[in-house]
Amino acid sequence: MAEKEEKGEDGLVAEIEKKITEAFEVFDRESNKTVDVREIGCIVRSLGCFPNEAEVQELIEKMEVEEPGGFVHLEKFLPVVTKVLLDRRFRPIPEDVILHAFEALDENKRGYITKEDLVKYLTEEGEPFNQEEMEDMLAIALDPETDTLLYRDYRKKLVVDETKTFPYNV
């Protein structure tokens, strides 16, 4: 794009930094340029990235948080996350990949996953959900009549504008 070419790398970096700072400040309760380390995952994800928990942990380590359960200062946060966005890491998961994932859990290929199976897989496998996360997902995802997850529909509902965020979107 002409605009970006004119602005060049610098312009893009500045813009990314502004956006990261904005997102950071939304979680900065005390208005002192720090956030709770437990919010890091949330902030990074809200910027359009799809890291898994292990990857979030990796980022946190780069930010050199002093004590566990401590605070991260914007100074440490900004360069790490700027690099993430510039390198376009943790890109959105494409629709078909998610579909395959659901299909993998649907052993008998029935087009749905029962509540029990869903709970079993998501709280025992992978990077397990805690109880709250599981309950929230069930509340949104289950089809109330059959108490099952009709994953094709569900995925469509959520994917809609998931991928349309800066900087992945023009």
């Binding site: 794009m1 002409a2 605009e3 970006k4 312009g11 500045a14 813009e15 502004k18 956006k19 904005e22 997102a23 400040e25 939304v26 979680f27 309760r29 005390e30 208005s31 002192n32 995952g41 949330c42 902030i43 990074v44 994800r45 809200s46 990235c49 799809f50 890291p51 898994n52 928990e53 998961i93 990949v97 998610i98 395959h100 994932a101 659901f102 993998a104 859990l105 897989y121 998501l122 496998e125 992978g126 990077e127 397990p128 959900f129 996360e133 929230d136 997902m137 509340a139 949104i140 959520l158 504008d161 998931e162 349309k164 965020t165 800066f166 023009v170």
Partner: protein, 738 residues
């Protein structure tokens, strides 16, 4: 299956699980961000509105300070417009707000009150209000008289002891949301000799059942005087009520006796205690404290003198304007019927020489302009301007620099601080510029104050919290907020807190709307978000001119386009809401090309959306419009050299003063446009007729582009009658909105 296959299968499933979890967590994070942004939007707009309100009044009172009314009619108008709140003496009240002469027809099926009140009366009222019945005006007035009598005996600071009542329940802002009060009573029980309550102010405004809440609270107050305690909030103030809905509610519900009822409320609000102390250890106030808050001083103040603390109006001692009163206090005994002052009032002394005689009007106005400029300059020099932007210098900040040792002024500051302040995370104490009243106080201020008065912690309200309550300052300050779904259904919970003899707080949260429970988190967030963005788009639209100027500054080549990055910077520089614009952008700007926005058409789209909606915004024009029956006086206020014409310069001067009080900037271009559209005969001046016509045309004339913004409130303007056009060239249809 051999183990190899099942291993691969498991691995596949684990991978699938991770993907789904990863994807879902990102979805939740995005929701969380949206939720917090939405919250920010609501809060910043809410407080900005409050600031507007106060600043507008400050601005007008400043203007009036310099204005010499030429007739008693004008004097009356001014009194009514800005200072409609003297606290009446007993005899006057009984006469004006009498209820005994009001007959209650046999056909009235609502509750009938007799005094002294009994628990049965309370029950009857609760049932009646649940069935949407209305209490007859006679009983309302009677109740108010009795309440006032009772409140007068109370000290400024109520004392509660947990040894008598075991547990005390403290509730925060209710804001006219009767359902929340019902929910609290349902969950916690009604007030009784074994159930004490403290209601921490802001019973009224915004919600539609402020009246019912007050009736219920006052009833319980009279039945159980030892167990029920009410604190005054910043909304227990008729100046605030004018804007935020209570006044309107009363007038709508009581068409015949509304004015009397409002007058009585004014004289009840000022008698509400300012604070409550539990076991001498926990202080409950509505807003907060400042670094000058002193309980001993607070105890001694004559609180009824401060009917409204909104405008700390100072008067020039040497001027002859006795009929205009300061701080709406009771008329001093030395004031006679002509209103000549006995006691000198506080004054905002011009630093320069004595005002010239008003006989020479041109000289007077020249002096006036010079004085204003000098005062602003003086204040700028005193304030550390490097930290604050020039536009932040408001009238109230001008006052705070002067004569702070004046006893009456510092008393009103005590009340202002207690009712309007907010805690902040940083240390120190600074002026609350967002709200326009009170302070921001830091943890060090809290610490010092608690130590000074040997207290354990503070309970306050005044700010909406998503969970209904929140601690800050190292758990030394507790905010409790009892109006659930305050901004929108699903926006927040309400809560109340219970304290036993151990003074350990126990919280109960609730949400008053059934719908909120059945909505999923996503739906709730979407709904609240929609509401927030609607309000935000309205704000953006109201600043159309300023935004265009700001965008143009980035568009040197006049392409009509601006980059999204510059868009964000420009918008913040105009609106100053401190919002994360880049995060909000996808909801505000729908279509872009190559990352560039065509700003004019974006603003046009906003305009189209607004045309069908009502909104209530502070602005010079809107206040003028609302008071259009007194247009002549307003005209004269703006027409400083009394020439019968408003020159561009005068209009600009007024507007500049105005925008230095409000955050609405208008460029010279914008003022030009405005004046030109009012100046129908294009002679560079607005004469009185043009002025009148402009404001009658108000809502539908497309060339007054401020009026594109102002679709007037339907309650005021439903009945429009069209008059045949007459007179001036360029003006075809006129209609007079009544």
């Amino acid at each position: 299956e051999n183990s190899g296959t099942s291993f691969i299968l498991c691995h596949e499933m684990a991978k699938a699980a991770v993907l789904i979890q990863q994807w879902y967590r990102r979805h939740v994070a995005r929701l969380e961000m949206r939720r917090r942004c939405t919250w920010r939007i609501f809060q910043s707009i809410e407080y900005a509105c409050e600031q507007d309100q106060i600043q507008l009044h400050n601005f007008f009172s400043y203007l009036m300070d310099q204005f010499t009314p030429s007739s008693s009619k004008e004097r009356d108008f001014i009194s009514r417009m800005f200072i409609s709140g003297e606290s009446y003496k007993e005899a006057e009240l009984e006469k004006y707000c009498d209820y005994e002469s009001i007959e209650v027809p046999d056909s009235y099926t609502g509750p009938r009150l007799s005094f002294p009140l009994l628990p049965d009366h309370a029950t009857a009222l609760l049932e009646a209000f649940q069935q949407k019945q209305q209490l007859h005006a006679r009983y309302v007035l009677n109740l108010l008289h009795e309440t006032r009598k009772h409140l007068k005996q109370l000290p400024n600071i109520s004392h509660v002891s947990t040894c008598y009542s075991e547990e005390v329940t403290v509730c925060g802002d209710l804001h006219g949301q009767l359902d929340d009060l019902f929910l609290i009573f349902y969950k916690n029980g009604l007030p009784s000799p074994s159930k004490s309550y403290v209601f921490n102010g802001d019973f009224v405004d915004r919600g539609k059942q402020s009246l019912e809440i007050l009736v219920i609270l006052f009833t319980f107050l009279l039945i159980y005087p030892k167990e029920v305690h009410l604190n005054r909030g910043n909304h227990e103030d008729h100046m605030v009520n004018l804007r935020y809905g209570f006044t309107k509610e009363v007038m709508q519900k009581y068409k015949v006796h509304g004015k009397k009822i409002l007058k009585m409320f004014q004289n009840v609000f000022c008698w509400l205690p300012l604070a409550t102390l539990i076991d001498q250890k926990v202080l409950i106030i509505h807003g907060g404290i400042s670094d000058t808050t002193d309980l001993h001083m607070l105890e001694k103040i004559q609180r009824d003198k401060f009917v409204s603390v909104l405008r700390l109006k100072k008067r020039n001692e040497s001027s002859r304007k006795p009929e205009i009163q300061a701080i709406n206090g009771e008329r001093e005994s030395g004031t006679d019927a002509a209103g000549n002052e006995a006691a000198p009032r506080l004054s905002l002394q011009p630093q320069s020489a004595q005002a010239p005689s008003t006989a020479n009007r041109l000289e007077f106005s020249r002096w006036l302009r010079q004085t204003v400029q000098e005062q602003i300059d003086t204040c700028r020099r005193l304030v550390d301007v490097s930290k604050s932007e020039p536009e932040e210098l408001t009238y109230s900040s001008m006052i705070s620099l002067k004569d702070v040792d004046e006893p009456e002024l510092s008393q009103s500051f005590q009340i202002l601080d207690v009712l309007w302040s907010d805690p902040m995370p940083q240390e120190g104490c600074r002026e609350n510029k967002v709200r326009g009243g009170g302070c921001y106080f830091g943890p060090d201020v809290t610490e010092k104050f608690l130590e000074k008065h040997n207290l354990q912690f503070l309970i306050r309200s005044h700010e909406c919290k998503q969970e209904g309550y929140e601690f800050c300052h190292n758990r030394k300050v507790l905010t409790i907020f009892s109006a659930s779904n305050y901004y929108e259904i699903g926006s927040n919970r309400g809560a109340y807190v219970k304290l036993g003899p151990d003074l350990i707080p126990h919280f109960v949260q609730y949400q008053a709307n059934k719908t909120a429970h059945t909505l999923t988190m996503t739906q709730r967030i979407s709904r609240v978000e929609e509401s927030a963005f609607r309000a935000l788009r309205e704000k953006l639209f109201a600043h159309t001119s300023a935004l265009i100027s700001a965008f143009k500054a980035y568009d040197g080549d006049n392409t009509g386009r601006i980059s999204l990055s510059n868009w964000a910077t420009a918008v913040e520089s105009v609106l100053r809401l401190g919002l994360p614009w880049r995060m909000l952008r996808p909801q505000l700007v729908r279509s872009t090309e190559d990352g560039m926005l065509e700003y004019k058409s974006w603003l046009d789209d906003l305009a189209m959306e607004q045309r069908s909606q009502e909104h209530i915004q502070s602005s010079l024009l809107e206040v003028i419009y609302r008071n259009r029956s007194n247009l002549e006086t307003i005209f004269r206020i703006i027409d400083r050299d009394h020439s019968g014409l408003i020159s561009f310069e005068e209009f600009q001067q007024t507007w500049k003063l105005f925008s230095s009080h409000m955050n609405i900037e208008l460029t010279d271009d914008g003022i030009n446009d405005l004046v030109r559209s009012i100046d129908f005969n294009k002679d560079g001046n607005i004469d009185f007729n043009e002025f009148l016509e402009a404001f009658r045309l108000g809502c539908h004339d497309p060339c007054l582009h401020f009026y594109k913004a102002r679709t007037v409130s339907p309650n005021l303007e439903r009945a429009c009658t069209w008059q045949a056009g007459k007179g001036k060239a360029g003006v075809q249809n006129r209609h007079h909105c009544r």
